[in-house]
């Protein structure tokens, strides 16, 4: 009995944390151990991982409201990202330099996110049961539509438009001079020459994570979870199911918009046209790896999932690259990140609660 106890405890831990997460975490740990042997600077690697975590975390958080209301995983994240891109470009058009432009961008993206999210929510209410498939195509088609709009919209800030024609937005626009590192540099802590903690960005995420966590503890948030858990029960308790679902979609869309702005301020560029096309999959994968299921997700799932996913995607190419001494980083990055997505999607139905 005494010998069995620690084993039982261990089993309990594996069951509650989930075997896939333990394996991925151990793999990530081994990459950090291998890094100095392969000649990769651990400080830089850790710094990169933290950075990428901060860049992506809010977009992963954008999955949570829709999962809770039973709309499934938000494959239509590109729609939110488009709202964010509109906010970003309008902010640059207004041409106020410095970090203030970041908050302007959030301000400008909000009406777009609300309107697009509302329409997207109405659509999803008409296709109950098939949300995720429809959402994917909402994302894809909105990207295609915006490819036309980016050329036609009357932007004229010289930093944004094509130099030779003077009209139509470029595919990548630098945010230097506007909100580059607006959050990253806020209160950032330089521990060593290579290890910088982007405090501002992490705090910004923590703030949003807190808001969502708190929201889920309110009356409306409770209703949202119940709608996702059993819509008939919710209806029999007097809940307007469609309205709650629409609210969750609007929230997800707006978080997607804010998420891409955070991503841009760290990355340094606004990526238009096909940029948003594949943004949904890494976010979906991250939350699944974090232990969420199609109708259950927590903030902890977001944090763990984003860290593991981004950690692997950051570390594998650099370590592997140094070990085999050829420049394969891009190939490895694509193989690893898509492999992670594939793995995560196969685990879609397996819920860890």
């Amino acid at each position: 009995m005494n010998v069995g106890r620690p084993i039982e405890l261990g089993k309990g831990f594996v069951r509650s944390f989930g075997l896939p997460r333990i394996i991925i975490a151990l793999f990530l740990l081994s990459l950090f151990i291998l890094a100095p042997i392969a000649g990769v600077n651990v400080g830089t690697s850790f710094s990169d991982t933290l950075n990428r975590f901060g860049m992506n975390a809010i977009m992963v958080l954008a999955m949570v409201p829709m999962i809770h209301s039973g709309c499934g995983l938000n494959f239509g994240l590109p729609l939110g990202i488009i709202a964010g891109l509109l906010g970003a470009t309008i902010s640059l058009q207004v041409n106020i330099p410095g970090p203030a432009s970041f908050f302007l961008a959030i301000l400008f993206c909000t009406p777009f996110a609300l309107i697009l999210g509302w329409g997207y929510g109405q659509l999803l209410n008409r296709v109950k049961g098939g949300e995720m498939m429809i959402a994917t195509y909402v994302g894809f088609s909105s990207v295609a539509f915006m490819c036309i709009m980016w050329l036609l919209l009357p932007f004229n800030n010289p930093t944004m438009v094509w130099g030779y024609s003077g009209s139509g937005l470029r595919t990548t626009i630098s945010v230097e001079g506007y909100y580059l590192h607006a959050l990253n540099n806020f209160l950032s802590i330089r521990l060593t020459r290579h290890l910088v903690i982007p405090t501002g960005m992490l705090l910004f995420f923590a703030f949003f994570a807190f808001i969502i966590w708190a929201f889920l503890h309110t009356k409306t948030g409770t209703a949202m979870t119940a709608v996702g858990s059993n819509p008939v029960f919710a209806r029999a308790s007097g809940i307007n199911v469609d309205r709650i679902r629409t609210l969750s979609v609007v929230m997800s869309t707006w978080l997607g918009a804010v998420g891409i702005l955070v991503y841009q301020q760290s990355f340094g560029f606004i990526q238009l046209y096909m940029g948003p096309f594949y943004m949904a999959l890494p976010a979906v994968s991250a939350i699944l790896i974090g232990g969420a299921s199609v109708n259950k997700a927590s903030i902890l799932n977001v944090v763990i999932g984003t860290f593991l996913f981004q950690g692997i995607v950051t570390m594998t190419p650099s370590v592997m690259n140094s070990m085999i001494h050829t420049d394969m980083s891009e190939v490895i990055r694509i193989v690893v990140s898509n492999g992670m997505i594939l793995y995560a999607l196969t685990r879609k139905t397996e819920a860890v609660r």
């Binding site: 009356k219 409770t222 308790s237 007097g238």
Partner: protein, 544 residues
């Protein structure tokens, strides 16, 4: 020793635990050819687990197998899957129907065992191109239905059948499994609550066909919560409690109360009722239904006009499919409905559950798992949710009501008090609703309704699929609630005796209309007449 001296089935020292939790303990019994064994026990007594062991279900293998031996005709067997059990002539009819709705009875009965005809296409493309031999299929299906001696159109689509016919189709399917090269003919049939969904006549004809089958030499294990049926039809009664066999007795001379007593280990009197006289003169009408129609599939309400008096317990009875379930579902707005519903003088707009709830009514649905519960959430959530959303209970308000925060402590306390009051058996109030047994889930549904402090409570089939002990508790809880808080209760049930035990008067619904209303003290024969569509000749003074 001839084959006939060896018991058909023997189970010796069967034990089973799920992760250290002992659910079956040293089970021993044997079953002869043609014997009908009635297996009774409370929910969670281990009946289903025992049957799962017999059938070699995956669930058993995945959780570490079982202890003891299963012997069929004297040889030890251990089935790796239910299809192995089928091959040895053991069939099972499940509580839930496993039928294809868009296929006819014949097609369902013969599914995957159809006799085939060889055609010239098979010559070219192989046996996959054989066609079904419809004539022979019909003949076999008819023969199987014939053995049941029921009227069942073998060409009818399952989706169009009344629920009883579906049950007969399932049984006919098991019966049609004659000896072939891959399997032996059916020798043992396990019926898991076959009468739960049937009306009384249907149940009667099922019971008589069970007897006929046993005369033909087929042994039957009959699981049911309706104890009278067990006594009527079985040769032997086996009572299980807490994973052990408490009693194995011949059915002759056993009384329902004895079985109930063995099952729950305490005295339960199902027939006892306190007659009370309700004063209709001084209590006003609280709810009035005028020309209510409800489009609920299978339970259509056509034209119901009914007054409910403040403080009474009104029973609504009738056969399955006549529309009694449609009344609360329509009044609440879960199904499209029309007509006038007036509550305390205010007309309630139909088709929106919110109006119904805001008026101060509550509904405990007959569909516990579908409508009644959040299966994946804790008991706390289940109990508190409706009250929180409709009446803003269990909320702490900040910033002048802008933030409405869930009051976890209050939810926990209230849930704990209901757990104690209604004797809900659970590990903690954080346990998920789906992990509870049927009876306890029903109590959670009641707690949910009690938490909103309704002025009027609709309870639909509160005792469906739950055992005797839980049934008595649920009924008692309703009566107590009615007496202590003065809440008007409208209870819908297919079990007349149950209605008569707690109601003041009972309305019988037939063909979507109120066929008659009688006081609960009227003799049951009168109700029986109403149910089969004959008006009472005597005035019992029930219609007020």
């Amino acid at each position: 020793m001839s084959v006939h001296d060896v018991p058909l089935l023997e189970m010796k020292h069967i034990s089973k635990d799920f992760f250290g939790n002992q659910v079956l303990n040293d089970i021993n019994f044997s079953l002869k050819r043609g014997e009908i064994l009635g297996l009774v026990g409370e929910n969670g007594a281990g009946k289903s687990t025992l049957m799962k062991i017999l059938f070699g279900m995956d669930e058993i293998h995945q959780t570490g197998g079982y202890g003891g031996d299963v012997l069929i005709e004297g040889t030890k067997v251990s089935f790796a899957s239910p299809s192995d059990a089928l091959a040895r002539g053991i069939g099972m009819v499940h509580q839930e129907f496993s039928l294809l709705p868009d296929f006819t009875a014949t097609e369902n009965i013969m599914l995957n065992r159809e006799p085939l005809t060889y055609t010239w296409l098979s010559e070219v493309f192989g046996p996959r191109m054989n066609v079904l031999n419809r004539k022979e299929m019909d003949a076999i299906a008819k023969a199987a239905i014939g053995r049941l001696n029921v009227k069942l159109d073998h060409q009818m689509l399952v989706s169009e059948m009344p629920v009883g016919h579906k049950q007969f189709t399932e049984i006919a399917r098991e019966l049609s499994k004659e000896a072939s090269e891959t399997s032996e003919g059916i020798k043992l049939l396990v019926l898991d609550e076959p009468t739960a969904v049937l009306s009384e006549q249907e149940a009667d004809s099922l019971l008589s066909s069970i007897k006929r089958l046993s005369e033909a030499g087929i042994a039957i294990i009959f699981i049911t919560h309706r104890l009278q049926e067990i006594i009527d039809v079985c040769d032997t009664i086996m009572v299980m409690r807490d994973g052990m066999i408490i009693k194995t007795v011949p059915a002759q001379g056993v009384a329902v109360t004895d079985i109930a007593h063995w099952m729950v280990g305490r005295q339960v009197d199902t027939s006892k009722r306190e007659v009370r006289t309700f004063d209709y003169g001084s209590s006003p009408v609280i709810l009035s239904l005028q020309n209510l129609w409800v489009n609920m599939p299978g339970e259509t309400v056509r034209d119901v006009t009914l007054d409910v008096h403040k403080g009474e317990i009104l029973g609504i009875g009738g056969m399955a499919g006549q529309g009694k379930l449609g009344i609360p579902n329509g009044a609440m707005g879960l199904f499209p409905a029309g007509g006038t519903v007036t509550f305390e003088g205010q007309q309630i707009m139909l088709n929106n559950p919110r109006n119904f709830l805001d008026a101060g009514m509550a509904f405990v649905s007959e569909d516990r798992r579908g409508v009644g519960l959040l299966l994946d959430e804790s008991l706390e959530w289940n109990v508190a949710f409706t009250a929180m959303q409709v009446q803003e209970k269990f909320l702490k308000k900040y910033l002048g009501g802008l933030i409405q925060w869930r009051d976890q402590q209050q939810i926990e306390e209230e849930t704990a008090s209901y757990v104690k009051q209604l004797e809900i058996r659970c590990v903690s109030t954080k346990q998920k609703a789906k992990e509870l047994s049927g009876g306890n889930q029903q109590k959670v549904c009641l707690a949910k309704a009690f938490a909103v402090n309704p002025k009027l409570l609709f309870v639909s089939e509160p005792t469906r699929g739950i055992d005797v002990g839980a049934k008595a508790l649920v009924l008692k809880a309703l009566r107590t609630y009615n007496e202590e808080s003065g809440t008007t209760i409208v209870m819908i049930s297919s079990e007349l005796e149950e209605l008569r035990s707690i109601c003041d008067r009972i309305a019988i619904i037939s063909d979507g209309k109120v066929f008659g209303t009688l006081p609960a003290t009227a003799p049951s024969a009168e109700f029986g007449l109403l149910m089969v569509g004959q008006a009472s000749t005597q005035d019992w003074g029930g219609a007020v």
